[in-house]
């Protein structure tokens, strides 16, 4: 019990991290992680509430619960252009988590709740590193709550929609190039906010074995009003940097997903699937800080991001080895939304190749213990954050073992 409480505590305090193109996280169900993060055409359990609300009426059982946590370890290396020293960014252990509950009051109607962490970013470059005037450390966490209702017509078409409430908190520190006897000035900004969006999807089972899904998760504008902004500057300049509040705007991008999967073989032992995910990253034009008390030195600042929309391609496969064991494999390619001239150490983004595997063990009927492992290779990338003339080469690697439980009855 104590262990469970500890786990729960870790889960509740979870910070998530950026991986993939930008600050979007893809760790939402061990079964899906095992299959290269595909899920738009799948309806094995309550995770379809998130992956495609149109899929939840196809869940076989009346009740379905799924929960789990990933342990995400990442490492980013940075080699500044033309300079000797190299920097290693040690990410903190991040634990993105999920919990889904779906219930079918009738054979064709499904209601449910999805709670997970689809966006986040957490990194710490240190206080004295070369890019400290851009970023020292940053932690951004978003947790979403999604009550969902879905309906299916015959066993062919399912549609569903969920209302998404996102709660986000962030904390960032950067240095300011105004020096006193104690070194650089600093700026800390921290705050939290919540806002609404939606998640809607449709799933079609055109013929035996086949499943097609289309889902759309809307953009959510995370605008924080009156976040705390604390400047530390030399005393002689402090009147220019009063204790301040700041309005911050960060959009969580919309996602359009298409998925297809096919089950075949004896007792549908095999399943293969694919997923195309179009991320509307271009909504992230700039990170805007609008300080409420304006002075000659403190004003509205926009940090240009100029992200571009991207298509993530994923494939996965599943094999039911026995009634007790299912194994999964998958992979994907997640291209970066960040242009070379806007490559910022705040979100050191690069093209990523993901490789995944997973298993489910069924100790008793209805219960499965799901485990998955994800390894991501970041493709070495050079770029400059041109507004700050900060240039160098980035490379990263992430790996994330995770464990979860699914219970259906």
């Amino acid at each position: 019990m104590r262990r469970f409480t500890t786990l729960l505590l870790i889960v509740c305090l979870a910070a998530t991290t950026s991986f993939g193109g930008g600050y979007q996280v893809g760790l939402h169900s061990m079964r899906n992680i095992g299959m290269g993060l595909i899920g738009t055409s799948l309806s094995y359990d309550a995770s379809s509430l998130f992956y495609n609300p149109g899929g939840s009426p196809f869940i076989k059982d009346q009740w379905s619960f799924s929960g789990g946590v990933s342990f995400l370890l990442a490492r980013t290396t940075f080699q500044p252009l033309n300079v000797m020293e190299q920097y290693n960014l040690e990410h903190k252990l991040n634990t993105p988590f999920y919990f889904y509950a779906a219930y079918k009051p009738t054979a064709n109607l499904s209601i449910g709740l999805a709670v997970n962490t689809p966006y986040g970013n957490s990194l710490s470059w240190g206080e004295t590193w070369k890019g400290r005037y851009l970023i020292q450390d940053l932690s951004f966490r978003a947790i979403t709550f999604q009550p969902t209702v879905s309906y299916k017509i015959k066993d062919v078409v399912g549609i569903g929609v969920g209302l998404v409430y996102a709660y986000g908190a962030f904390d960032m520190n950067k240095a300011i190039p105004l020096q006193g006897s104690n070194g650089d000035g600093t700026l800390n900004i921290n705050g939290s906010t919540g806002n609404f969006g939606f998640n809607a999807g449709i799933m079609v089972h055109p013929e035996t074995g086949w499943s097609l899904g289309l889902s759309y998760r809307s953009k959510i504008e995370m605008s924080v009003t009156s976040a705390n902004a604390d400047f530390t500057v030399p005393q002689s300049l402090s009147s220019n940097f009063p204790k301040n509040k700041v309005d911050v705007m960060l959009p969580l991008p919309a996602n359009l997903d298409f998925g297809a999967s096919y089950e075949f073989g004896k007792d549908k032992q095999w399943m293969i699937g694919m997923n195309l995910c179009y991320v509307f990253w271009s909504t992230y034009d700039s990170l805007i800080f609008d300080f409420q008390t304006k002075t000659a030195a403190v004003n509205r600042t926009a940090t240009p991001a100029l992200y571009t929309d991207q298509l993530i391609m994923r494939i996965g496969a599943q094999y039911k080895a026995s009634d007790l064991l299912t194994i999964r494999l998958g992979g994907y390619y997640d291209p970066t939304p960040v242009k070379n001239s806007y490559l910022n150490p705040q979100t050191p983004s690069m093209n990523q190749i993901g490789m995944t595997c997973g298993i489910s063990i069924y100790p008793t009927k209805g219960l499965s213990i799901d485990a998955a492992f994800l390894y991501i290779l970041g493709v070495e990338r050079s770029g400059t954050y041109s507004p700050d003339n900060f240039a160098g080469t980035y490379k990263n690697a992430l790996y994330s073992p995770g464990i979860g439980l699914t219970y259906s009855f």
Binding site: G180, S181, L237, D388, F390
Partner: protein, 439 residues
């Protein structure tokens, strides 16, 4: 299954440890950096904040370059170290400037440069050979002037023989590589004197002197880079006080207009900024040889600020209201003087460019670099301009660079070295170098 998972896990951990980026590889290319020397003036000596002091020398451009050349096999770089952090004592010397709270003639306290409180170090010979031969105040032809140590206390600190020419210091050092940034003072001396207390070196003499210096430097086959001369009128010393810095209220303007009518001077004043008065020997007026300053003309940072603020300098002295009070000529650069400075600088730069080509040296276009700084440059999120104090690149004397500015300049030299000799000397991380320190 467990086995597979184990294999994948170990593979992942293994590959993750291998996620390294190639480290910066230092190559010396076709140059030999083993003995590096620097020749120049105050810009290369580490002079800053109006003094030559220990910390400034530590962050001198050649010392920063030398630190990087060490990675490519360069030996120790010896400077004529000042042991204290205030400056060298000789007639007229003052301690370095620091940011503080000066009180002006009106009793107003503001944030600005003030002299640090400290004792200057007696100007005594250091007693050892140095690699940094840069001498504050030195002009091109001073390098070939026997006994220059008698006239320049900074050279006297490290001259190996009082009767030496500076170029005679070079051969005993047996340099393999050098940086040369000299010649600013040939025109800057004139500019700093407001065009009245110094002369501009003639291009012919400049060419002869620079040619002589380079000949001495390359005598033993040394390679090196040469920097040209930026437009000295673009530095904060000349750009901080505006020509129309006389700010008046309506009633002040009214009384001045009345006085000007009495003087029979055709100048009109209004509320807000107005041009200062300066001397004009060619004025048609029988008594008052003055005129208003023109846009583009410059007031020097050395102008006595209290006289401007409280004594009516630039307009009318309230203690002597019967005549106008122009800013004395040594604090002003007129259009003619500025034109002269710029055309001479252009002539010097043509000479330097040709010398670099003739002697097959690397070339640093400091003139272009200062133009970039005027518009504003950004490195690693640090925005720098040529503005006094807030620009972040110049030291508090408004002429010399601060350590951060020196680091940027050192990187320009390093780029030129790499370009010319195919070496890969790393740049310095400029964020490691302090800018202006505020209280």
């Amino acid at each position: 299954m467990k086995k597979i998972l184990f294999i994948i896990l170990s593979l992942a951990v293994f590959t993750s440890c291998e996620r390294k980026i190639d480290e910066f590889k230092v190559e010396k290319g076709s140059a030999n950096f083993s003995t590096y020397i620097a020749v120049g003036n105050s810009m290369m000596a580490g002079y800053a904040d109006g003094a030559l002091y220990r910390t400034g020398q530590m962050y001198s451009i050649p010392n920063i370059i030398a630190g990087q050349l060490k990675l490519a096999g360069s030996g120790n770089f010896v400077q004529p170290v000042v042991n204290n952090d205030f400056g060298v004592d000789f007639p007229g010397a003052r301690p370095k400037l620091i940011m503080g709270y000066p009180v002006d003639c009106k009793g107003t306290v503001s944030l600005g440069p003030v002299p640090a409180t400290g004792t200057l170090e007696p100007a005594a010979p250091v007693g050892y050979q140095v690699n940094n031969l840069a001498i504050p105040g030195a002009k091109s032809f001073h390098m070939l002037f026997p006994g220059y140590a008698l006239f320049n206390p900074y050279y006297a600190r490290f001259a190996t023989n009082a009767n030496n020419m500076v170029v005679q210091e070079i051969a005993p050092l047996n340099p393999t590589f050098f940086t040369l940034w000299l010649g600013d003072n040939d025109v800057l001396g004139y500019a700093l004197s407001g065009g009245v207390g110094d002369t501009i070196t003639s291009p012919a003499l400049f060419q002869q002197a620079m040619g002589g210096v380079i000949t001495a430097l390359v005598a033993n086959g040394a390679k090196g880079v040469l920097a040209n001369i930026p437009d000295v009128t673009a530095i904060p010393f000349f750009t901080t006080i505006p020509y129309n810095g006389l700010v008046l209220t309506q009633s002040q303007a009214d009384s001045i207009n009345m006085a000007m009518a009495l003087y029979q001077l055709p100048f009109h004043y209004s509320a807000g900024p107005n041009p200062f008065l300066v001397n004009e020997p060619n004025s048609p007026h029988p008594y008052f040889k003055v005129r208003q300053m023109q846009p583009g003309e410059l007031v020097l940072l050395s102008v006595p600020q209290d006289s401007l603020k409280c004594k009516g300098m630039g307009i009318i002295d309230p203690g002597n209201p019967f005549q106008p009070y122009p800013i004395p000529s040594q604090y002003v650069l007129t259009i003619n003087e500025i034109t002269m400075i710029k055309s001479m600088t252009a002539a010097y730069n043509t000479i330097l460019f040709n010398l670099a080509a003739n002697f097959n040296l690397g070339f640093v276009d400091m003139s272009a670099n200062l133009r970039l700084l005027q518009k504003g440059i950004v490195w690693d999120g640090i925005k720098m301009t040529s503005t006094f104090v807030t620009g972040g690149a110049f030291s508090l004397d408004g002429v010399h660079l601060n350590p951060r500015g020196c680091a940027v300049a050192a990187n320009y030299f390093i780029d030129a070295i790499n370009l010319k000799y195919g070496s890969t000397i790393p740049q310095v991380n400029i964020t490691n170098y302090p800018g202006v320190i505020f209280p």
